[in-house]
């Protein structure tokens, strides 16, 4: 069981051209900023948005092929979709919502009711079958939507930001539940999200979509260590610098000004990523081992858990992560000149 899609289309200002392959049993998180085309890609896979070029295959079966004009309408695709705001039918009860897909696909009434009950129980809403969506909480609605999508035993499960409409307090619990339910599902799972935490906890592999293009794909670890765009770097909270290596000395000439020494840098156009934790700050110019030292001015600070992220303007500008005690000790709030130091071993350099 696998999904293979090469998709090309224009929609308003969006120019989407993306390929996606998801293997049997895999969970892929489609990550990207708003307007990147994530939802549009999902709609293409569901058959709700026609293709201009390319094709979509599920288990080797053609769902759509722009070249031959082949097109399987949504109602005949083996899919289940959880929409961003769930789109539960407001005029039907929770149970009837779950039943809807089963009935539409020809399950006899009594059996459909039986299975819908079982699914509602599965998502922990056994006692809420008679309630209309308007009388359910956001989290409950999400579970009904999930039960509704899963009840028809789809082979491709599409989830469009399933957590976006929930408040933070209910998210953690629901994320755990969703993870359990997704684990029990056999088939191809594709999750659209702009929350990296969601992608990490629910997705196995991540595909990053930006402005209609896949900019990066890989495991959470790969993406965290070697981000390939400003968006991904911000997402995983790391410093990403672009530059060029000319000699064999591992010296990266940065586009934004300045240079960084790294170990084992490839030559040519490169990305250099430095985790804020690896950036040290001093008031006096440090002496000794660190190979990269430059000066700058602290610009802004942000509290992140028990750490403080300090943005230092300089050549290059960089974000450092220090303890609140260090902020006090270095009197970072007063501004002035600070020294930035990064060990060469902490600079990850990879081809751009």
């Amino acid at each position: 069981m696998s999904l293979e899609a090469g998709v090309r289309l224009r929609l308003g200002s969006l120019d989407l051209e993306a390929s996606l392959a998801v293997e049997e049993g895999e969970v892929v998180a489609l990550l990207g900023p708003n307007g990147a085309g994530k939802t549009t890609l999902l709609r293409v896979l569901a058959g709700l948005q026609p293709l201009a070029g390319g094709r979509v295959l599920l288990d080797g079966r053609v769902l759509e092929d722009a070249a031959t004009g082949a097109y399987v309408p949504p109602e005949r695709r083996p899919i289940g979709v959880v929409f961003q705001d769930y789109l539960l039918f407001p005029h039907l009860s929770a149970l009837e919502n779950v039943e809807f897909g089963l009935r539409s696909r020809g399950t006899p009434r009594a059996q459909a009711r039986e299975e819908a009950r079982r699914w509602l129980g599965e998502v922990g809403l056994g006692g809420h079958g008679g309630a209309r969506p308007a009388h359910l909480s956001g989290g409950q609605r999400q579970r009904v939507a999930l039960a509704r999508a899963l009840a028809t035993s789809p082979r491709l499960l599409l989830l469009d930001e399933p957590m976006a409409a929930l408040d933070a307090s209910t998210r953690a619990q629901l994320r755990r539940d969703l993870r359990r339910l997704l684990a029990g599902f056999r088939g191809v799972r594709l999750l659209v999200t702009h929350d990296p935490l969601e992608a990490v906890t629910l997705g196995g592999r991540m595909v990053v979509l930006e402005a209609g293009r896949v900019v990066q794909a890989g495991s959470a670890r790969e993406i965290t260590e070697r981000p390939r765009s400003r968006y991904v770097a911000d997402l995983v909270g790391t410093n990403l610098l672009r530059g060029r290596v000319t000699g064999r000395d591992g010296l990266v000439e940065l586009e934004a000004g300045g240079r960084l020494r790294a170990l084992g840098a490839p030559s040519g156009e490169v990305f250099a990523s430095v985790h804020p934790r690896a950036v040290a700050l001093y008031r006096e110019r440090p002496a000794g081992t660190p190979r990269n030292v430059w000066s700058g001015r602290p610009e802004s600070m942000e509290l992140l858990g028990d750490r403080v992220r300090v943005r230092v303007a300089g050549s290059p500008s960089i974000v450092a992560e220090v303890t609140p005690a260090a902020v006090q000790e270095l009197r970072l709030g007063e501004g002035g000149e600070v020294w930035v130091s990064v060990k060469a071993t902490e600079v990850e350099v990879y081809p751009a």
Partner: protein, 254 residues
């Protein structure tokens, strides 16, 4: 104060004629007039014809509204204008047009009577037709606006759940536009109930067959003004009940 005076005059303008009806109503004879066979006959015919016209409008008008709301095709604007023309056209002109098309000598009427043996003018079926002609546009426009304002993503969700277009329409679209459907049907029915011009032109004025209440009111004005007033009051009561019942669904939201 600047607004209150014209507003009061405006309200009085509508209320005074009703008071006139109430003052001149022959209350003593009202019950007798109401129970007269002609009155009951006209009332029955009015109800049967207006309800039939509403049913016909639902069957034909809802699909028409769906096409206007959901399909893009050349000439849609013109077609919509043509099919809603009866809303602004003097009903007499509508009746005349119907007569010229479906009358015995009309091109469609000749074909109907030769081919199917159907004669429409001056029959109860003709009354239903005239009323449908005048009233259906109200339903079409109301339902179309309901369809346009509904969230079509529910229909998409239904399709991903395996529902074909007809199932989607029946189980999702229709229930979701329920309020518009209801308001459209009531407006259509009220318009059909009060229909006069097109009916008298196309269907004539035969008691028991084509004489509906509005026609009866007009006719009785000559022979029995008292009964005419009682009939008018009956029509007024029905219309008022409909408007009061609709105030939240349609008038309130307008």
């Amino acid at each position: 104060m600047l607004l209150a005076i014209p507003a009061a005059i405006g309200a009085a303008f509508f209320i005074l004629p009703l008071v006139g009806l109430l003052l001149r109503a022959p209350w003593g004879d009202a019950l007798r007039d109401l129970a007269a066979p002609e009155t009951l006959e006209a009332l029955r015919l009015s109800l049967v014809a207006s309800l039939s016209a509403t049913a016909l409008s639902l069957v034909l008008g809802v699909p028409l509204a769906w096409i206007y709301a959901r399909l893009e095709f050349p000439g849609r604007t013109l077609l919509r204008a043509l099919t809603t023309l009866p809303m602004v056209l003097p009903p007499v002109v509508g009746g005349l047009a119907l007569l010229l098309a479906f009358g015995r000598r009309g091109f469609a009427g000749a074909w109907l009577s030769a081919g199917l043996g159907l004669t429409l003018p001056f029959t109860t079926a003709g009354v239903v037709m005239a009323e449908t002609f005048v009233a259906m546009p109200f339903l079409v426009l109301t339902v179309e606006s309901g369809l346009r304002s509904m969230d079509t993503r529910y229909e998409e969700a239904a399709r991903t759940l395996g529902a074909g277009r007809w199932t989607v329409f029946r189980r999702v679209t229709l229930p979701l536009i329920g309020p518009s459907l209801f308001a459209g049907a009531v407006l259509c029915w009220a318009r059909a109930l009060g229909e006069f011009g097109a009916t008298i032109t196309f269907a004539g004025n035969f008691p028991g067959r084509t004489q509906t209440m509005p026609l009866g009111v007009y006719l009785l004005l000559e022979t029995n003004p008292g009964a005419s007033i009682v009939l008018s009051l009956l029509l007024l009561l029905v219309s008022l009940a409909v408007l009061v019942g609709l105030r939240d669904r349609w008038l309130g939201s307008a």
